[in-house]
């Protein structure tokens, strides 16, 4: 009797757990090597459920991959003495260096405004600016500029309708990450929604790192800048001297 009540309670309170995400990824690491030219990540998964498939409202999937959140200084140019110079600036507290959202249908259909606010999913929700100076009018325009510039650079991507769902159970999408990525942990979130409401979400991390020589050079330049500077001079001098010496040998030989 008690057991039955328990089961009933679980059913009533727990529709959230009824459908869960099981995720696979083609890679959970992106290595920035010397010839890094962007990377395409394939994300695929399945919906694990205890109950039979519910037909309406249909199951939708939203996948959001975010780069590290960083503060950004946004500067605006205006014309002074005939030339265009930076005149105003606003520090945006944080904005992701990269952000891609893939959905199975138009964003407004798959996620309600309330849940978007709650989970901070859409791109404008990820950009936060509170400390705009009082003398700057329209601080919102500066946040919009972050969105616009990064969208134009392929760093912010809204990929509506690119998640394929099969039998309301299997889903897959691919996200192209551009060449100008920032290093760091890329939190990746998958939301299952029905009728605009999030019924389950899952979070994992894609690790984006410089590797090998790239990593070594970058770290050296930050941790031992003097050594790095001397090394770059030494390499430059050696290369310059070596190349001209090689040419002299060639000329004598020819």
């Amino acid at each position: 009797m008690f057991l039955r009540l328990f089961a009933l309670l679980a059913l009533l309170t727990g529709p959230v757990a009824a459908e869960e995400v099981v995720l696979g990824m083609s890679q959970n690491r992106v290595a920035i090597t010397a010839n890094f030219d962007g990377s395409e990540i394939l994300l695929f998964g399945a919906v694990k459920r205890e109950t039979s498939i519910q037909d309406s409202p249909p199951l939708e999937v939203v996948i959001a991959v975010s780069g590290p959140l960083q503060p950004v200084t946004v500067r605006k140019k205006s014309k002074k003495l005939g030339i265009w110079v930076n005149t105003e600036s606003v520090d945006v507290d944080y904005a992701p260096s990269f952000y891609a959202i893939a959905t199975s249908a138009p964003f407004d259909d798959v996620m309600s405004h309330v849940d978007d606010l709650r989970y901070r999913v859409s791109i404008p929700r990820m950009i936060r600016s509170v400390g705009a100076p009082m003398d700057v009018q329209n601080a919102q325009r500066f946040s919009d500029a972050v969105l616009r510039i990064r969208t134009n650079n392929g760093l912010y991507q809204m990929l509506e309708g690119t998640v394929d769902i099969d039998q309301q159970t299997l889903f897959r999408t691919s996200i192209a990450m551009p060449a100008n990525l920032t290093e760091g942990d890329y939190p990746t979130r998958i939301f299952l929604t029905r009728g605009g409401k999030v019924i389950s979400h899952y979070e994992t991390i894609i690790d984006v790192r410089k590797v090998g020589l790239e990593r070594w050079l970058y770290n050296l330049s930050r941790e031992q800048p003097l050594v790095y500077g001397i090394l770059s001079l030494a390499i430059a001098i050696f290369a310059g001297w070596g190349a001209s010496a090689a040419f002299q040998v060639l000329r004598r030989g020819g």
Partner: protein, 315 residues
């Protein structure tokens, strides 16, 4: 039905410090072209390379610092050759160098201060527009006159050796140059060139060589060697300052430009010997003016994007 097959040889390289991905052949090519030009005209090429790096999307701060590093490399074999031929006035070189080191420090200080204000791109570009405009214009006029004169076969104009500089105190004897002059003018020339090296990522030969000939009255045969001697130390110092304060020296970028540059310079030297000096000068002047015009237009025309993003925390 039309089938279109495009074969793209993509050789992108990710620059670790600039944090952009650029085509390696583009960099080798740029290095090569500027190398050819510098071989043809006997100029350092920094003042052409740095703006070209802006145009392909390298952040100006990285372009300036990396170019300083590259100038060290491209002047090294030149300095060795001049030292061997004894065409370097070491004493004058050291005086110019003292001014240059102070200038480079001052230049990096100004550079970093304006960087924190978000105005460094403007500073660098304005400097380029002014200097390229003045130098290109003067060169153009002078070479036009030279061509006209060579047609008329008129006598070459003589330059004055005695001027106000001989009235200044702190005189010093420079035996190699055969001069007995005050150390103040060479110190100031060195200082000025040092500032330019730090802000513009150039060697400054295009300012220093005329200043040494016309202002200090040095004999032409020691001018190039002595200026190279000063340039190599000043740009090396500038590189170290940028590397330690701004972290903007990109080794991978420098090496690629260098490889192209050294090969280009060898080709350029051979082309240069086959062309007339006046024609060469006019070509170089035109090229300098074109680069200047492009930079000026960028400043004068309304940009398509008024906003720009930068890393925060520079205050």
């Amino acid at each position: 039905m039309l089938h279109c097959v495009t074969l793209t040889v993509s050789m992108q390289i990710y620059l670790p410090i600039a944090e952009v991905s650029v085509n390696a052949f583009l960099l080798l090519g740029l290095g090569g072209i500027v190398g050819i030009l510098s071989g043809m005209f006997g100029v350092g090429g920094g003042f052409l390379m740095t703006p070209l790096l802006f145009f392909i999307g390298i952040p100006p701060a990285v372009a300036v610092a990396t170019e300083a590093n590259q100038i060290v490399a491209s002047s090294f074999s030149g300095v060795l050759a001049h030292l061997k031929r004894k065409t370097v006035d070491l004493k004058m070189g050291v005086v110019l160098l003292i001014g240059g080191l102070a200038g480079a420090a001052l230049g990096v200080f100004v550079f970093n201060y304006l960087k924190s204000l978000g105005q460094v791109d403007l500073l660098v570009k304005l400097c380029y527009v002014v200097f390229l405009g003045v130098i290109g214009g003067l060169m153009f006029i002078e070479s036009l006159n030279a061509i006209r004169k060579s047609r008329k076969n008129g006598p070459p104009t003589k330059r004055k050796n005695h001027n106000w500089i001989h009235g200044l105190p702190f005189k010093m004897r420079f035996r190699v140059s055969g001069l007995y002059i005050s150390v103040i003018p060479p110190l100031i020339v060195g200082l000025f060139v040092g500032v330019l090296a730090a802000i513009m990522g150039v060697g400054g030969g295009f300012i220093m060589v005329p200043a040494m000939i016309y202002l200090l009255g040095m004999p032409t045969k020691v001018v190039v060697g002595t200026s190279l001697f000063q340039i190599i130390f000043v740009t090396a110092f500038t590189t170290l300052l940028h590397a330690t304060t701004n972290y903007t020296v990109d080794m991978a970028l420098a090496v690629l430009l260098l490889v192209g540059g050294v090969i280009g310079a060898q080709i350029g030297t051979r082309i240069g010997t086959r062309l007339k000096a006046e024609q060469l000068r006019i070509l170089l002047a035109l090229m300098v003016l074109v680069v200047c015009g492009k930079l000026a237009l960028d400043l004068l025309l309304m940009p398509t994007e008024l906003y720009s993003l930068g890393a925060a925390g520079g205050h």
